[in-house]
Amino acid sequence: MWIRKVVAGAFGALRDRELELAPGLTVVHGENESAKSTWHAALTVGLCGRRRGAGRSSADADFEARHRPWDLEETWSVGVELQLDDGRRIEIDRDLHRQRSQVVDIGLGGRPVADDLMRDGSPDASVWVGLDRASFSSTAGVRQAEILSVNDEPGALMDFLGRAAASAGGSESAASAMERVVRFRKENVGSDRVNAVKPLRIAMNNVAAAQAELGDARRVHADYLAAAAQAEQYRGHLSQLEQRLAAIRLAQSALEVDVAQVRFDRLSEWAERCPDNEPVAPLSTDLAPLLAAHAQMKALRAPAALDTRPIDVIEGELLAVPVLPEGPMLVDSETEASVACWHSESAQLSAWRSNQPAPAVDGPAPGDVRVLADRIQQFVERPTADLELELAHLATERVDALSAATDRTRLRVTGAVVSVSGLAAVALAFAAGLGAAFAVLGVILLVLGALLVRRPAGHSSVLMRNVERAEAIEVEIESRRVHNAAVEASRIQCFEQLKTWGLSSEPATAVAMAEDQAAATERAKRWHRELADRAEALEQASTLAHALLDQYTDRSGNPAVRLNNAHSRCEELRVVEQASRASVGLEAELARSREYAAAHERFDADRNAAIDQLLAVAAQFGLSGSIHEVVSRIPALLAQREVEQADHDRRRTDWVRLQERLGGLTLDEHRRRLDVLANEHRLAVDACADNPVRLDFAHDVAAVDEAAAATEDRLRRAREAAATAQGRLDQLRVTCPDVAIAEAVLLQAESGLERVELLHSTLDHTERFLERAQEQAHRMLAPQLESEVTRWMAPVTGGRYDRARVDPETLQMRLRESTGRWRDASLVSHGTAEQVHLVLRVVLAKILTRPHEQCPLILDDPTVHADARRKIEMLEFLREVSRETQVIVFSQEAQVIEWAAERLDPVIDRSISLIDGPDTEADPVDESGAIPLPGSVA
C-alpha cells in the first residue's frame, strides 16, 4: 500500500491543499512554520482516522486543539487516496468534525469498503497492512523526538525494541507488563498467609468470621426452635396434669357432697334431741358464796392473852418520873484550856508593863548630821602664791623680747635694698652692655638681699607666747580667789546648822550625839509595839474562854469565875439524869398493853362481820335463824344441790356436742352450704364434660386424696419446668440472632472472596500467558530482527558496523564493528544510535506489517541532528528502503533538499516544497497504481 495523495480540506492552518506523493521516496521540505507537522498529522489521521465514541482522552483533546481549524466552526476534514498492493485505489474522506468517514473504492465507482476497516468507530486503513492506528503511529510514523530520545537515554533503543516486540510500539514491554501484573496482584490480592493484610487474606478472614457468625446464628436459632418445642411440650404436659387434677377435683367434689349430706343428716338428728339454746344452770346450784362465808367465819381466831398491868397504873407511874434538864453534864477540856490560856496572857501583860523604857527624844537624823560633817571636812582652799611668782617671771621675759624685735626689722630693710640694687645691676648690665662682671655682681646682690629679707622671725614668736602665758596665769589666780571665798561661806553655813540642832560644832562629836538620840527613840517605839501585841492576845484569849463558857453559865464574871460556876452546874445535872432513867421500862410495858387491847378489838369486829356475812348469804339460799342454826343446816343444803347440778351437766354436754358438730353454723346454714356444694359439683361436672380423664378410683376417698396430692406435686413440678422452659424461650427470643442476615453477610463475604480469588486467578493466568508469549514472540522476532538489521547495518553506517545479533530471550542487540569487535547496541555513539534506531523502525515496520504488504513510512526530520556524513548515509538508506515501500520524509534541511535534488529518481520519487509546490514532476505512477521496481528506476 502506498499513499498517493493527501488532501487537507480544512486541517489546522491548511485549506483546500493537497500533496501528491510518490510511491518511492517523497521529500517534503519547507522552512519552519511551513506546516510540515500539520501535513504529517493530516497524513496519519487521514490514513488511520480517529477513535470515535463518547468521551475522549487527553491525546484526543491535544490533537484537536492542535489541528482543528480555529476559524471554522463546523469544518474539519482531511482525506487520502491510497493505492493498494492488490491494485485497488481507495479514497478516504474524513469529516473529523462530525466524526464521519467515507472509504470508497474508486475503481468500483466509489463503492464503500469500510466495513472491515472499522476500529473504535472509524475506519483505519493501516489495518490493510496488519497494523492499527496505534501501532502504525508507533512504528511507521517516525517523529523527530523519538529519534532524539535514543541520545538521551542509553536504554531507549532497547526499550523501544521491547515495546515494539510486545505490542508493536505500545507503552510497555512484556517484562514491564508482567511487573505491572505482579505489582497489581501484590496490592490487590496479596498473600493468603495468616498474618497477611491484603485483600485476599482480608476476604478470607471475612468469610471465616461470617461462617462462624452464621454457625452461631443457626445453632442459637435451632436452640430457639428446640426451646419453643420443649416449652410447648411442657405446656402440653401441664395441660394433661391440669385435666387430671380437674378430674380428681371433680371426684373430690362429689365425695365432698356425699360427706356433707351425711353430716347434715346426723346434725339434724342431733338437733332434734338437743334444746335450741344452751341449758341454764339452776340459781341455787352455786353454793360457793355460802360455803365461802362459812369458811371465812370459821377461820377467825382470837388473840392470845398477855400478862401485863393495866394501862392506867403504868401511866401513873410514868407521870411521877422527873424530867431531865437540858445542858452538858461535864465541862469539856477545850473550855478548861481556854481559861488556862487567859490566865497566862494576863500574867505576861502585867510583867511587860513593869519594864517601860525612857521616853523618845526628837533630833536630826544621823545621816543628815553625817552629811554635814563630811562636807565640813571636805572644804579645801586653793593657794595662789605659785602663780603670782610665775607671773613676775613672765614680765621680765617680755621686756627682752621687745628689744629683739626691733633688730629684725632693721635687717629686712637692708635685704630689700640689696636686692633692688642687684636687680638694677643686672638690668643695667643687659641694657647698657656693662659686661658680665657687672651682671654677676647684680645677681649676687639680688640673692643676698633675698636672704636678708627671708631671715627667720624667732624672737617675735617667743614674745607672743610670753604674753599669752601671763594672761592665762592672771585668769587662774582670779579663779582660785573666787573658789576660796565660796568654801568659807559654806563652812559657816554648816556650823550654823549644827548649832541649830543643838549638836557640837565638832563634826565627829556631832555625829555621835545624833546617833545616840536615834537609838533611844527606837527602843521606846519597840516597847510600845510589844505592849499593844500582848494586850491584843489577852483580849483574844478572854473572848474565846467566854464563848466556850456560855453553854454552861451566864456571862457574869471573868473566865476563871465562870469556870467555877460551870463545874457546879454540871454536877447538878448529873444527879437529875440518874433519877429519870426509870421511865424507860414503864414505857415499854405500856406499849405492849396497848397493842393487845387493839388486837382483841379487831378480832371482835371481824367475827361479827363474818357472822353477818354468813347470815346474809344463807338468807339467799333460804336459810335463816341464829348463826348456830344456819351453820347446822348447811350440809343438807349441799346434798340437794349436787343432784340438781348433775342433771344440768348432762343436758349441757349434749348441747355442746351439737354446737361442736355445727362448727359455729346453724343447721340452716349447713343446709345452704350443702346446697352450694351440690351446685358447684354440678357446675364442675359440666366444666369437665370434655375432660378425657376418667378415674377408676373416684369413689375411694383416700385414693382420690392421695391422687390429688400426688397430682398437685407433679403439677407444681411441671409448672416449674414449664416456667423454666418458658424463661429460656423468652431469653432466646430476645437473643435469637437473625439467620437471614448472617446468611446475607456470609454471602457478601463469599462474594468478596470470590471476586478476589477470581482476580487472583485472572492475574496468575495473565502473568503465565504473558511470560509464555514473550518467550515465543522473542524467539520468533529475534532472527528476523537480526537478519534485517544486518542487511541494512553496513549501508546505513558507512560500513562501520556490518552485522547485528539479537538475544532471543531479552532482545538485547549487539553490533559488530568493521574490526570484528561486538558492541552492545545501547553503547554505540549517538549518531550511530540514531542510525540504528532508524533502521530498527524500518525493520520493525516491515516485520510487523502483514506479509506481502508494504507499509508507508512517514518520517519527520529524521536526520536533523545527524552530521553531514551520517545524514547522507541515512538518506541513502531511506532511498534504498523506498524501493520496497513508500517513504515520506519531511525536512527543513538544505542538505536534504540538495541531496533530494541530486539523488531522487523523478520517476518514482518526488521532492515537494511546501512553499513552491512540487520540485519534481508529479504522477510517475501509471493508472494501475503499480509501483515501478527499484531496480527499474535506475
Binding site: G121, A166, G170, A177, V181, R218, A744, L763, L770, R772
Partner: protein
C-alpha cells in the same frame, strides 16, 4: 363463599445474593404484605383466609415473625385462617405452627394426609402439612374425598356429595413445573391436575410455584414478592369466590409494595464511565424499590468499568445491584492475533487455552491493559 388465598410469602427468607440491607428491606416489605392480606380479607369480607404453605422459612424464622403472625391472624378473628405448612415451613414439634399460641380462629393442618375443615354448611377445606423439608409424597395420591369424609366426618354430617370440597396444600403440579422457569425449583409433593377432580375436590389452592397459575382445576397464588432477581413476582393474594357448584372465580390482588426490577443495559459504544452512568441513570429513571442491572455489550478497551458507581445512580431506589453479563471487550482480537508481537502471541495463546470464555476475556483484557501501561487491571 369468598376466600382470600395466598402462599409462598417466605417470611424471613433472604433475598438471593442480596446483602443485609436488602434482607431487611425485603423482610419489612413481606411483613407489610402479610398485613396486606389481612386488610384485603377484611375489605372483601372474606369468609376465610387460606395459606398454601411456605408462609415463612423454618430455618430462619425469627421470634418476632411468629408474634407478628399470631397477632395478625388473631386480629382477623372470627374469620377462620387455615394454614397448610409447606416444605419451607414444614410442621414439626419445633415449628412455630406447633409452638405458637394461635387464636381460636386459626387452624393449622398438621397431618401429612389431607384432613377436612368444615368452613361452612356447604364448604369443606381439605388441608395437609409437609412434615419435613423434603420427601413429602404426593398428597393427592390415593386420596378420595368420599373415603376420607366417611372416615373423618361425624355421623351427623351431610354426605360428601352434598358438599363443596376445596383442597389446600403445598405441592408441585407436574405439568406446571416446566412453566416455572426456575432452575432451583424441586418437585415437592407432586401431583397431576387430573388428580384433583378424581379425588373429589372441586378445586385446589396450591403453593410452591412462585409464578401465579390460574388453572381450571387449581390455583397457584404465586409469591407476592420475588425471592430473587429474575422472578417475575406477579403473584399476590387471590380473592376466590366459590360457587355452590364448586366453580371458582379468581381475582389477584397485589399485596406487596416492594418493586423488584431485573434490568439489562448495553454499554456498547459507550466510551467512558460518565456515559455508562448516564445510561444507567436513564435506565433506572422512574424505578423504585430494588433493581439489578446486568451490564452487557462491548466494553471499550480504554474503559475501566467500575461497578462501584452505583451509589451515584441509585437515586430513588432502595437497593441497586450491578453485575456484568455478556460483556465483550472492544479489542479487535482477530487483528491482534495476526501481530507477530508478544501481544499477538499472548492473545493467540489465551484464545487457544482451555480457559472458559469469561476467564479468557478477563485474562486477555488484563494482559492487554498491562501491555498498554494501564493500572486498572481488575476486569469486571
Amino acid at each position: 363463599m369468598r376466600l382470600v388465598a395466598f402462599s409462598d410469602l417466605h417470611l424471613d427468607a433472604p433475598f438471593a445474593r442480596g446483602g443485609p440491607a436488602l434482607v431487611r428491606l425485603r423482610r419489612a416489605a413481606l411483613r407489610e404484605a402479610l398485613i396486606g392480606v389481612a386488610q384485603l380479607a377484611t375489605s372483601v369480607d372474606a369468609d376465610a383466609v387460606l395459606c398454601a404453605g411456605d408462609l415463612f422459612e423454618h430455618d430462619r424464622v425469627s421470634p418476632d415473625t411468629a408474634e407478628l403472625l399470631r397477632r395478625t391472624f388473631a386480629e382477623l378473628a372470627p374469620t377462620p385462617v387455615l394454614l397448610a405448612p409447606g416444605n419451607h415451613d414444614w410442621f414439626g414439634a419445633s415449628s412455630i405452627y406447633a409452638t405458637t399460641a394461635w387464636s381460636s380462629n386459626v387452624h393449622v393442618f398438621s397431618h401429612s394426609a389431607l384432613e377436612p375443615f368444615r368452613l361452612s354448611e356447604r364448604l369443606v377445606i381439605w388441608g395437609a402439612a409437609h412434615q419435613a423439608p423434603s420427601g413429602t409424597h404426593g398428597l393427592l395420591d390415593n386420596f378420595s374425598v368420599a373415603r376420607a369424609w366417611q372416615r373423618d366426618a361425624d355421623e351427623s354430617a351431610r354426605a360428601a356429595g352434598d358438599l363443596v370440597h376445596i383442597g389446600l396444600f403445598h405441592g408441585s403440579e407436574e405439568s406446571d413445573f416446566t412453566l416455572q422457569a426456575d432452575p432451583d425449583k424441586v418437585l415437592h409433593a407432586p401431583f397431576r391436575s387430573e388428580q384433583i377432580a378424581a379425588s373429589g375436590l372441586a378445586h385446589a389452592v396450591v403453593g410452591h410455584y412462585h409464578l401465579r397459575r390460574e388453572a381450571s382445576t387449581h390455583t397457584y397464588p404465586g409469591n407476592p414478592a420475588p425471592l430473587s432477581f429474575g422472578e417475575r413476582g406477579d403473584g399476590g393474594a387471590v380473592v376466590i369466590d366459590v360457587g355452590a357448584d364448586g366453580s371458582v372465580t379468581r381475582r389477584w390482588e397485589r399485596i406487596c409494595s416492594l418493586e423488584v426490577h431485573d434490568l439489562e443495559v448495553d454499554i456498547g459504544g459507550l466510551g467512558d464511565a460518565a456515559a455508562i452512568s448516564d445510561a444507567l441513570t436513564s435506565l433506572l429513571a422512574g424505578h423504585g424499590g430494588v433493581a439489578r442491572v446486568t451490564i452487557v455489550g462491548e466494553v471499550a478497551p480504554t474503559l475501566d468499568l467500575d461497578l462501584a458507581l452505583k451509589s451515584e445512580i441509585a437515586h430513588g431506589l432502595d437497593q441497586l445491584e450491578l453485575r456484568t453479563g455478556r460483556l465483550t471487550d472492544g479489542y479487535d482480537l482477530h487483528h491482534i492475533c495476526e501481530e507477530p508481537t508478544v501481544r499477538g502471541q499472548f492473545v493467540r495463546d489465551v484464545l487457544e487455552s482451555d480457559l472458559d470464555d469469561d476467564e479468557q476475556r478477563r485474562v486477555i483484557a488484563t494482559g492487554l491493559r498491562a501491555l498498554s501501561g494501564r493500572d486498572d487491571l481488575e476486569v469486571a
